[in-house]
């Protein structure tokens, strides 16, 4: 029985709770028991507190018994260890925040809490979300549930692995350059990077503020959409959030059955050198499937896409160097012993940050420094304008763009950790979406011969998140890749 409960999706669980087929306490206990069994080998979670989760589940059951009919009451969700949940640790996968307890709820957490969700566990992440494999986490690498020798992707590898391994029906994650979509593709789950400004980042540990966006991961598009609907919308604590109404797309997403009248753009730049032949074959098969569902496939050009990674690896480290200046050992987190203030800063940051974070903070400091700012930072901001322009032009010819999420399926643990540039190149199809501030969805589109999942990328114009979800759902409803599960 308990194994079956772990199979329930986010909305299925909500439905079963509403019908009284189980209690939140039973579901929570089953998920925690599964975590007990699969951790620490999987290492998807950085923290869980069975007693606290059980107490929250029980409180939800009692509220339901007393007549509370909130649709998501008692549904568990896992949270990336980057988002503040009051009373829980929030470390961003870093030693510099070990021992930190969140004194408040992030806005997205406040909204899920108001909806009645149970925060069952915290998921592993690359340190400060800087990485594409979870290997930079102070907690060590999360394993890919489809092959423990391989990475789950990153930075939200813990959320992706937890959802794929049925430790939670859904998870929150964040995406600065691909950190939701790439691990979703590597782990065979569905992940949405919402439009910049659609979801509040208040209470989300900042990495690169002009790029960061919080979004859902789940096993179906419906479940991702259901979480998205709760967390999206204007927030007075994040001035970048838009006042545009979020609307309700869940009915459309559920009903999505074909793609008649939908024009999908296929950028030739996404099928160039560097794309693994197997991933290309799976992506092209998915494109054909979309055509069979009635979509018109049109060729589009994104001529500046090849500059995206270089642009991103100037802008994101620059912003990170400013955002991470706050970790100085003074107000929270780890402090190294020192006689004098300057020494305290330097030792705290030397001992508290891992190698990748140091690399990016130093790089960011350099590109912002006097004499180099115009050559690197300002130039990258101009290239960003060119990349946005590519998408603006492409979206005049199509409703959404489709292509691969990643150039390869999940790579082996350790395979790329010694060569940062190789690791960065894995973001080639995802970073441009962040640079342009638009939305992107990853849906499972098949498996390589080695049994590793691949993802189909559906990219839409700004604030057309409902459109990419509906297109992704129409595709997903015609396949069963998302129903396969790893044997672990």
């Amino acid at each position: 029985m308990s194994a079956d409960l772990c199979e329930l999706g986010f909305l299925e669980a909500a439905d079963a709770l509403a019908k009284g087929q189980m209690t939140s306490a039973e579901l929570t206990a089953a998920l925690l028991a599964r975590a007990e069994q699969l951790e620490p080998a999987l290492n998807a979670l950085t923290w869980r507190d069975a007693e606290a989760a059980q107490a929250a589940a029980k409180a939800a059951d009692e509220a339901r018994a007393a007549g509370d009919e909130r649709p998501l009451l008692g549904v568990p969700i896992a949270i990336k260890d980057l988002l503040n949940v009051k009373g829980q640790p929030c470390t961003a996968g870093s030693n510099i925040l070990k021992g930190y307890t969140a004194p408040y709820d992030a806005t997205v957490i406040e909204r899920l809490r108001a909806a009645g969700c149970v925060f069952i566990s915290r998921t592993n992440t690359d340190e400060f979300a800087m990485g594409g494999s979870t290997e930079t986490s102070a907690y060590g690498t999360t394993r890919n549930p489809w092959d423990p020798e391989r990475v789950p992707g990153g930075s939200s590898g813990g959320s992706a692995a937890a959802v794929a391994a049925r430790l939670a029906p859904a998870a929150l994650a964040s995406d600065t350059g691909g950190s939701i979509r790439q691990p979703a593709a590597f782990c065979g789950v569905t992940g949405l990077k919402p439009t910049y400004g659609r979801v509040s980042r208040y209470g989300c540990t900042a990495f690169a503020s002009s790029l960061d966006q919080v979004g859902p991961m789940a096993r179906t598009v419906e479940d991702a959409a259901a979480v998205y609907q709760v967390i999206a919308g204007l927030d007075s604590h994040d001035s970048t959030t838009s006042a545009r109404p979020v609307g309700d797309c869940l009915a459309d997403v559920r009903a999505a059955a074909d793609l008649k009248g939908v024009r999908l753009g296929l950028p030739k730049e996404y099928f160039a050198e560097g794309l693994d032949p197997e991933v290309e074959r799976l992506t092209r098969a998915a494109v054909e499937q979309c055509r069979e569902l009635g979509a018109e496939i049109v060729d589009v050009d994104l001529p500046h896409s090849r500059y995206g990674i270089a642009c991103y690896y100037i802008l994101a480290p620059a912003e990170a160097s400013a955002n991470l200046a706050r970790y100085d050992g003074v107000r929270y987190g780890f402090r190294a012993g020192a006689e004098e203030l300057q020494e305290m800063y330097e030792k705290t940051r030397a001992q508290g940050f891992g190698a990748e974070v140091k690399r990016r903070v130093i790089l960011g400091t350099y590109v912002l420094s006097s004499g180099f700012h115009d050559a690197y930072y300002l130039r990258a901001q101009k290239v960003r304008t060119l990349i946005r322009g590519d998408f603006d032009r492409a979206f005049r010819q199509c409703d959404a763009i489709i292509g691969p999420v990643t150039p390869t399926a999940a790579f082996r643990v350790g395979e790329k950790s010694a060569d940062p540039v190789q690791m960065y190149l894995g973001d080639i199809f995802t970073v441009n979406v962040n640079l342009a501030g638009i939305c992107g969805l990853s849906v499972p589109c098949g498996f390589t011969a080695a049994g590793l999942p691949a993802g189909l990328h559906v990219v839409g114009p700004a604030f057309e998140d409902a459109r990419v979800l509906t297109i992704g759902a129409a595709y997903q409803h015609s396949t069963d890749w998302h129903k396969k599960q790893p044997e672990i």
Binding site: A325, L341, A350, S369, P420, G437
Partner: protein, 101 residues
């Protein structure tokens, strides 16, 4: 004043920049970072081949604009809650090493 950076703009003085970022580096770390950052700078240097004359810079994508609200006092974190995460606190304040002699 001595050159803070090497003559070649694409090879940074890692130790100097790490100092600006308030990160102490061991010799081993500095040597490893030097090689990796040289590679990264060579890679991002690709942008120099693009013509960007007359292109406007994008700082934040999307429709973000200055958001104003009524200037009304709102409750912040209580002092105890803010201090609970401080490495060292005394008398309701954060303690740091002496700054002024």
């Amino acid at each position: 004043m001595a050159m803070n950076f090497s003559e070649n703009a694409d090879r940074m003085d890692v130790r100097y920049v790490a100092g600006l970022a308030r990160i102490a580096l061991s010799d081993e770390e500095a040597a490893q970072l030097q090689g990796q950052l040289d590679d990264i700078l060579a890679f991002v240097g690709e942008l120099k081949t693009l013509e960007v004359e007359g292109v406007e810079a994008t700082d934040v994508a999307g429709e973000a604009q200055n958001a104003m609200r009524e200037d009304e006092p709102q409750a912040g974190l209580p002092r105890e809650a803010a201090l609970a995460n401080a490495p060292l606190a005394r008398h309701g304040q954060i303690v740091v090493p002496k700054v002024v002699e």
